[in-house]
C-alpha cells in the first residue's frame, strides 16, 4: 500500500507552481532566478524542464528499492513503507556514496556550507503520513502531477496510454526501472530527451552489491578455518622437523659414546 506520484507530461502547462510549492514546503528560497534554473540542485528539489512546447518534471524518483538507502553506511536514508525515501541529516556523516550510487543523479550536496547536508526531494513524508498529497501534487492546476496509491496510478497510466493511441510514448517510466519507483512518468516525447536514461536495468541495484556482501558471513569462518588449518600444518611440520633433529642429535651422541 505505498503511495506514488504520476506525472503526465502531456497535461503539464509548465507553470512551475510545483516548484514554488516544493520550495515553500521545504523552506527553500524561490525567486525568479531560481525559477529559471532548469536543474535540480541543493536549493531546488524539483524542476520543470521546457523544450519547445513540451515539458518534463525532474524530482527524486523515490525508488522502491533505492540505491541511496542501500549504500548509506549509517542508514541516514530510508525507504518508508508509505513510499517516500527520507533523509536524516543528524545521522549523515557526509561520505556522499548516495550521490555516487543514485542512478538518476538526484541527491545534491551543500558544497558551500561548512557542515553540509545531502539535499533531495523526500516526497513530503510528513504530508503523506497524515494522508495528504505532496505539495507539488496538491498545487498542480491541471492534474499533471497526481498523488495516489501506486497500483491505482499504474492502472490509470496504462489506461491513458491505451485510450490515447499516438499521444504517449508506450512506456511508463518508473514502472520497472531499477525495480520500480514511486514516481511514475508519462510522456509524449522520448524520455531520453529530458535526461531520463532508457537503458536502466529492471533489477533493483542494491542486489548487485548485496550478492557480494551476503557471502561475508560464510567467508569469515571458512577463511578463518582455512588459514588456521594452513598454520596448523606448517607449524606441525616445523615441530616434527625440530623433534627429528634433536632425535638425530641424541642418536649421534649415543652412537659416539658406544663407539
Amino acid at each position: 500500500m505505498s503511495k506514488a506520484l504520476l506525472y503526465d507530461a502531456t497535461m503539464c502547462i509548465g507553470c512551475k507552481q510545483c516548484e514554488q510549492a516544493c520550495a515553500e514546503q521545504n523552506k527553500l528560497p524561490y525567486t525568479d532566478t531560481i525559477a529559471a534554473e532548469e536543474r535540480q540542485s541543493e536549493h531546488k528539489f524539483t524542476c520543470v524542464l521546457t523544450k519547445g512546447d513540451k515539458f518534463m518534471r525532474r524530482l527524486c524518483m523515490n525508488c522502491q528499492e533505492p540505491a541511496c538507502a542501500s549504500v548509506c553506511p549509517v542508514g541516514a536514508l530510508t525507504k518508508t513503507a508509505a513510499g517516500p525515501v527520507t533523509y536524516d541529516a543528524n545521522k549523515c556523516m557526509g561520505c556522499r556514496y548516495c550521490m555516487v550510487a543514485c542512478p538518476f543523479g538526484v541527491p545534491k550536496y551543500e558544497w558551500n556550507k561548512l557542515l553540509p547536508k545531502v539535499q533531495k526531494c523526500t516526497m513530503c513524508p510528513d504530508r503523506v503520513a497524515s494522508g495528504k498529497p505532496t505539495a507539488c501534487a496538491e498545487i498542480c492546476p491541471t492534474g499533471a502531477t497526481k498523488f495516489g496509491e501506486r497500483d491505482d496510478l499504474i492502472n490509470e497510466a496504462q489506461q491513458r496510454i491505451r485510450e490515447n493511441p499516438g499521444k504517449y510514448v508506450n512506456h511508463i517510466y518508473g514502472l520497472n526501472e531499477v525495480g520500480g519507483t514511486s514516481v511514475l512518468l508519462l510522456s509524449g516525447a522520448p524520455f531520453e530527451e529530458f535526461g531520463y536514461h532508457d537503458g536502466l536495468s529492471n533489477d533493483p541495484l542494491p542486489m548487485l552489491t548485496y550478492h557480494v556482501l551476503s557471502r561475508i558471513p560464510d567467508f569469515v569462518p571458512l577463511g578463518g578455518m582455512l588459514l588456521g588449518g594452513v598454520w596448523w600444518i606448517t607449524h606441525r611440520r616445523e615441530e616434527v622437523a625440530l623433534a627429528e633433529r634433536t632425535a638425530e642429535k641424541r642418536d649421534d651422541e649415543q652412537h659416539g659414546r658406544q663407539r
Binding site: 556523516m93 557542515l115 536495468s201 548487485l208 588459514l227 598454520w231
Partner: protein
C-alpha cells in the same frame, strides 16, 4: 648525502606548509572552497588516491604477515617489521584523509552504532577500523620492545596467530570491498572498468601491490637507512609477483572478452589511452621486465618492475574512480590545488613518520645495520624480534 638530506627536508617543509594552508581552508570554508568536487563529481582525489590507493599501498602488511606466520616462509621474516610499519602508517593516514573528505567528519564514528549491513561502505568502515586495530597490535611489540615491557609482549605473542588470521580476513574483505563499492553503478562506470569481478580485481591487485611495495620499500630503505639489500628475499617476492600479475592479467582480459568490450580497448579516446597506460604499467611492462632472468635477479630490475606495478595500479584505482566516471558525469574532474596539497602533505608525513620510526624503534633487525654516521643509535633491546618468532 648532507645536501640531499636538506633538499628533501625543504621539500617536506614546503609540502607541509601547503598542506597546512589547505587544511585551514578545508575546515574553515568547507568542501566547496577547498575542492573541485560538485554534484556531478562527488568523489575526488581524496577518495581516489588517499583512500583507494592508500589502502591498496598498505596491502603489504597482510600479504607478508600471512606469508611469514601462516605459511611459515621464514626467509621473509626480516622484512615483516618495516612492512607492518608501512601498513600501520598507511591505514592511519587513510583515516586522516577521510577526516578531510567526510562532509561531517565528527560523525565518523556513526557506523559503530548506526548499522546498515546492506552498505558496502559500512562494511569497509568496520573492516578498516578493525584492521587498523589489528595493525596497531601487530605493531605494538616493536614499541613495547623499545621500552623493554616484557609482559605485554608475551600477551601479544600469545594471540599473534589469531591476530594475523583476523588481519588477513579483514584485509581480504575490505580490499575487495573497495571494488564492490562500484558494483552498484553499472550505468555510470565505463565498461572498460565496470565488471562483476571488480572485487576480485581489487583483491588480486592489492596482493600484487603489497609485494611490489615491499620490494620498493626495501630498496629505498637500503639506500636511505644504510642497510644491506636483502636481495634473495626480493627475488623471491619478484617471482611471486610474476604469478600474481599473470593471474590478474589473464582474468582482466578474459573478463573484457566475456563482457564483449574488447573493442573498446581500441576506440580512440581519453578512456582508451588511460586504460592502456594502466595495463602497460601494471601488467605488461613488469611482466616483460621480470621475464628476463638478468633483470629478475638484479636489484635495479626488481626495483623498476615494482615501481611500475605500483604506478600501474594507482592508475587503475584512479581510472575506476575518476576516468571511468567522467563520461556518465558529463564533466571532467581536475583536483583543485588545495586537494593536491592535502594529499601531498599526507604522503610527506607518511615518509617522515616512517623515517622517525626507523630512527627511534627497532624496525630493522639490528645485526644488519651498518654503522651510520652522525645519527646516534640507542642500543636496541636484545632479544628475538617478536613479530618474527612468536607463535613458533
Amino acid at each position: 648525502m648532507k645536501m640531499k638530506l636538506t633538499f628533501w627536508k625543504l621539500v617536506f617543509l614546503a609540502l607541509m606548509a601547503a598542506g597546512f594552508y589547505a587544511t585551514v581552508v578545508r575546515f574553515t570554508r568547507g568542501l566547496g572552497a577547498s575542492t573541485n568536487l560538485n554534484d556531478q563529481f562527488p568523489w575526488g582525489i581524496w577518495i581516489s588516491f588517499d583512500v583507494l590507493c592508500g589502502v591498496m599501498l598498505a596491502a603489504g602488511g597482510f600479504t607478508l604477515t600471512a606469508a611469514v606466520h601462516i605459511f611459515h616462509i621464514k626467509r621473509l621474516e626480516s622484512i615483516v617489521r618495516p612492512t607492518v610499519l608501512t601498513a600501520f602508517l598507511g591505514y592511519l593516514l587513510v583515516c586522516v584523509a577521510l577526516m578531510y573528505d567526510l562532509g561531517k567528519p565528527y560523525n565518523i564514528w556513526h557506523p559503530l552504532i548506526m548499522r546498515n549491513p546492506h552498505s558496502v561502505m559500512f562494511e569497509v568502515a568496520y573492516c578498516v577500523m578493525l584492521y587498523t586495530t589489528v595493525l596497531a597490535l601487530e605493531f605494538s611489540p616493536i614499541v613495547l620492545e623499545r621500552f623493554n615491557l616484557q609482559r605485554p609482549i608475551k600477551v601479544i605473542r600469545g594471540i599473534l596467530i589469531p591476530l594475523v588470521i583476523c588481519g588477513v580476513i579483514l584485509s581480504t574483505l575490505h580490499q575487495s570491498s573497495l571494488g564492490t563499492l562500484y558494483l552498484i553503478m553499472p550505468e555510470k562506470l565505463h565498461p572498460l572498468w565496470y565488471s562483476p569481478l571488480l572485487p576480485v580485481f581489487f583483491f588480486i591487485s592489492a596482493i600484487a601491490v603489497g609485494l611490489a611495495m615491499t620490494i620498493f620499500e626495501s630498496s629505498l630503505s637500503s639506500k636511505h637507512f644504510g642497510r644491506q639489500l636483502e636481495l634473495p628475499i626480493l627475488q623471491e617476492l619478484g617471482r611471486v609477483l610474476v604469478v600474481v600479475l599473470s593471474v590478474y592479467g589473464i582474468l582482466r582480459f578474459e573478463d573484457l572478452f566475456h563482457r564483449d568490450v574488447l573493442k573498446l580497448m581500441l576506440r580512440p579516446g581519453y578512456e582508451m589511452y588511460l586504460f592502456w597506460l594502466e595495463v602497460t604499467l601494471a601488467v605488461i611492462l613488469p611482466l616483460l621486465l621480470l621475464s628476463q632472468r638478468k633483470l629478475r635477479t638484479s636489484p635495479g630490475g626488481l626495483y623498476l618492475a615494482a615501481v611500475s606495478v605500483v604506478l600501474g595500479f594507482i592508475t587503475n584505482r584512479m581510472n575506476v574512480s575518476i576516468t571511468g566516471m567522467e563520461s556518465s558525469a558529463g564533466s571532467h574532474y581536475i583536483p583543485r590545488w588545495t586537494e593536491l596539497a592535502v594529499t601531498g602533505a599526507i604522503i610527506a608525513s607518511g615518509f617522515a613518520l616512517f623515517g622517525l620510526a626507523v630512527k627511534y624503534l627497532p624496525i630493522f633487525p639490528e645485526e644488519e645495520h651498518r654503522p651510520k654516521p652522525r645519527v646516534e643509535r640507542e642500543p636496541s633491546v636484545p632479544g628475538v624480534p617478536v613479530l618474527g618468532h612468536a607463535g613458533d
